[in-house]
């Protein structure tokens, strides 16, 4: 049984099975959580290209699966991503149960994850574009609600993600032609331009990011949040994989400044625009833009020192987004709108959700003793040669801090709510777990640094 069968085919089959078990929500939850946890643990502890033993049974796990002459390759360096995505699926499945989202969410999220892993592993690279497009199309049914009009944000999400596919396919075609000879610089620059445009559409990189806040504002915020959490992380890893595979692109003079400038623009605009919002769902959308910006700046470091904040940022981003989305969904309840004006005194009814939202926001801003702080410190110390980038990044973070303080003032101030506690036990458990992990990463960065980074660095150097 090859690695792609385990981490692509099995989740896809699970998605099909879970689709027919939608009415049995408890069973569906058990299967999805169990499978995600198992696949996540397997990714963490089982070497690919070696044997997996259960008693006397020995199963070989080769890295390659071939379908119609195309290879799907999942190596040991992909294991950290697999572990991240499947362990985060445990959280998303539990959260789906906790907030009572659509029964379609679990099967569709499995199908999306399966397509995204296929996109990461497929060779030749140009097929990734098609798999990402399939993931986009498959996730649409969970983004809309019966009887509610499809909003502009969701349509723009579909448009921008679809526009990326042709650019990536064309870039892949050009690169497959020039791989043997790099003499035609015109073709190489054209390929770089197409790639840049494709990834910019996929990731919502400045100036193609304006759909993200609108997208957050519409229909089922929980499903939208899942998409905003999983897609950018997966696509940025596909991008990293691709940049690493092309020496001329990695060594090109334009890559670092382009990544840095785009990332900084996203951080600054994301933060400053977030500070001007009244709708909390839009605030989360801008925070997602800011976080993606930080990932781009992390990649631009292009050193081993840069790899560390990148992987820490991916981890902290996943945690923060998960916590923010769950907390906001709990606070929102049945209402569509959640503004600064209607959260006054919510702390009494939703104590853990309000704390979860505030901690998620403070952590996204890079406040000390929280999850993002260690990676921001490494990033800023590595960027001392470009102080302007640091100033603008700090401006984005300060703007997020300002809006968080405003949210905090509303939670604890205004009219005093006399309602009883509204949070369920499962919601408390999930928010509590998220808070503890964010605090542990922030308070004991050196412990995490040693244990996690030693594991990641081993995986990244293994073949």
């Amino acid at each position: 049984m090859s690695a792609p069968v385990i981490w692509i085919v099995i989740p896809f089959i699970a998605a099909l099975v879970l689709w027919f078990l939608q009415d049995k929500r408890r069973l569906s939850l058990l299967i999805s959580v169990g499978l995600s946890f198992l696949l996540g643990l397997l990714a963490l502890f089982q070497n690919i290209n070696s044997a997996f033993r259960i008693g006397s049974v020995v199963i070989n796990i080769p890295s390659t699966m071939t379908i119609l002459g195309r290879n799907f390759i999942l190596g040991n360096d992909d294991r950290i991503f697999l572990a991240f995505i499947f362990l985060s699926m445990v959280f998303w499945c539990f959260s789906a149960q906790a907030v009572g989202t659509s029964s379609k969410f679990i099967p569709i999220s499995f199908a999306v994850v399966s397509f995204l892993i296929a996109a990461l592993s497929v060779e030749p690279f140009l097929y990734s574009a098609i798999f990402v497009e399939l993931a986009v199309i498959v996730c649409l049914p969970i983004l809309v609600k019966r009887g509610k009009p499809v909003g502009k944000g969701i349509l723009r999400f579909l448009i921008f993600q679809s526009l990326a596919m042709p650019f990536i396919l064309l870039a892949g075609w050009i690169l497959s032609g020039v791989q043997t000879s790099f003499s035609d610089l015109r073709q190489l620059y054209l390929a770089a331009l197409f790639l840049g445009l494709g990834f910019a559409f996929w990731l919502g990189i400045f100036p193609f990011h304006f759909w993200i806040p609108e997208f957050c504002e519409e229909n089922d915020f929980f499903a939208n949040g899942f998409v905003l959490s999983i897609f950018p992380a997966s696509i940025i890893l596909i991008m990293l994989d691709f940049i690493n595979g092309l020496t001329w692109l990695r060594d090109s003079a334009f890559l670092v400044p382009v990544l840095r400038v785009c990332g900084t623009l996203m951080i600054a605009t994301g933060g400053i625009w977030a500070a001007m919002q009244k709708n909390l769902r839009r605030v989360i959308g801008y925070v997602a833009i800011l976080q993606t910006g930080f990932l781009l700046v992390d990649i631009s470091l292009q050193t081993e020192l840069g790899t560390k904040p990148f992987y820490f940022s991916i981890l902290s981003r996943g945690l923060e987004m998960g916590l923010l989305i769950l907390a906001l969904k709990i606070l929102q309840g049945e209402d569509q709108e959640i503004n600064l004006s209607n959260i006054d005194g919510k702390f009494k009814e939703y104590p853990l959700a309000t704390i979860g939202l505030l901690v998620g926001m403070f952590s996204s801003a890079g406040l000390p003793l929280l999850a993002s702080f260690p990676s921001r410190v490494i990033l800023f110390t590595s960027l001392t040669d470009t102080p302007n980038i640091i100033y603008w990044n700090l401006a984005g973070c300060i703007a997020v801090l300002l809006i968080t303080c405003s949210i905090l003032r509303h939670f604890f101030g205004g009219r005093i709510s006399h309602g009883s506690l509204q949070e369920t036990r499962l919601q408390e458990l999930l928010i509590g777990a998220g808070l503890i992990i964010i605090l542990i990463i922030g308070v004991f960065p050196s412990v995490i640094n040693q244990t996690l980074w030693s594991k990641i660095s081993v995986l990244l150097t293994m073949k």
Binding site: Y127, I130, L140, P141, R146, L155, S162, L163, L169
Partner: protein, 193 residues
């Protein structure tokens, strides 16, 4: 121009893209889309064998058919006459065609694609983008995405002859039509009931 007979399907493709862009009614849009696919069929015949070309034709028609299932949920209000909005759309589309004509020779230099196919592809890509820019309704957005893809596909067909890639792109076309039909029906169902 390598083949003057290509002017006939290209004329129909441009005409249908104009009809789609003006968007008089869902019926005219879907009929125009089906004729556009038929026009593209003749251009594909110069690149591929009849089997792959036939697959493209059938997929395109199936996309139109899938979208036609949502007719019960479409507005029947038809815009009549030449309004300033329509005039602006026509002007914009003509500009797109002019730009496509100018760029097509450069595409020919870069990729070695025949100029008429490059022109058709760019004109369709431009029309699709224009449609996406003008519309905020699910139906017209889905049609816009499909036209954009049709334009890209004819360009890509001349470059990449892998059956698997092209088959997967066809699957994406069908899924876009399916998901479009789903989005239209699910969001209008309750309102209609």
């Amino acid at each position: 121009m390598q083949n003057w007979l290509n002017l006939i399907p290209i004329f129909f493709i441009l005409l249908t893209s104009l009809v789609i862009c003006l968007g008089t009614s869902w019926r005219s849009i879907l009929v125009a889309m089906a004729i556009m696919v038929f026009g593209l069929f003749f251009l594909y015949l110069q690149i591929w064998d009849i089997f792959m070309t036939g697959a493209k034709l059938i997929t395109g028609w199936m996309c139109a058919a899938i979208l036609s299932f949502t007719t019960a949920y479409q507005s029947n209000v038809e815009e009549i006459g030449i309004t300033p909005k329509r005039l602006f759309k026509i002007m914009a589309l003509i500009m797109v065609w002019m730009v496509a004509y100018v760029i097509s020779s450069r595409i020919n230099d870069l990729f070695g694609v025949s100029p008429e196919i490059a022109f058709t592809a760019l004109a369709l890509i431009g029309s699709g983008l224009l449609q996406l820019g003008f519309s905020s309704q699910t139906f017209t957005v889905i049609v816009g995405i499909l036209i954009f893809f049709f334009g890209f596909e004819i360009l890509f067909a001349d470059l990449e002859n892998s059956i698997l890639v092209n088959a997967m792109i066809l699957a994406v076309d069908l899924l876009v039509a399916f998901v479009g039909a789903y989005l239209i029906t699910i969001t209008r169902q309750e309102a209609n009931e």
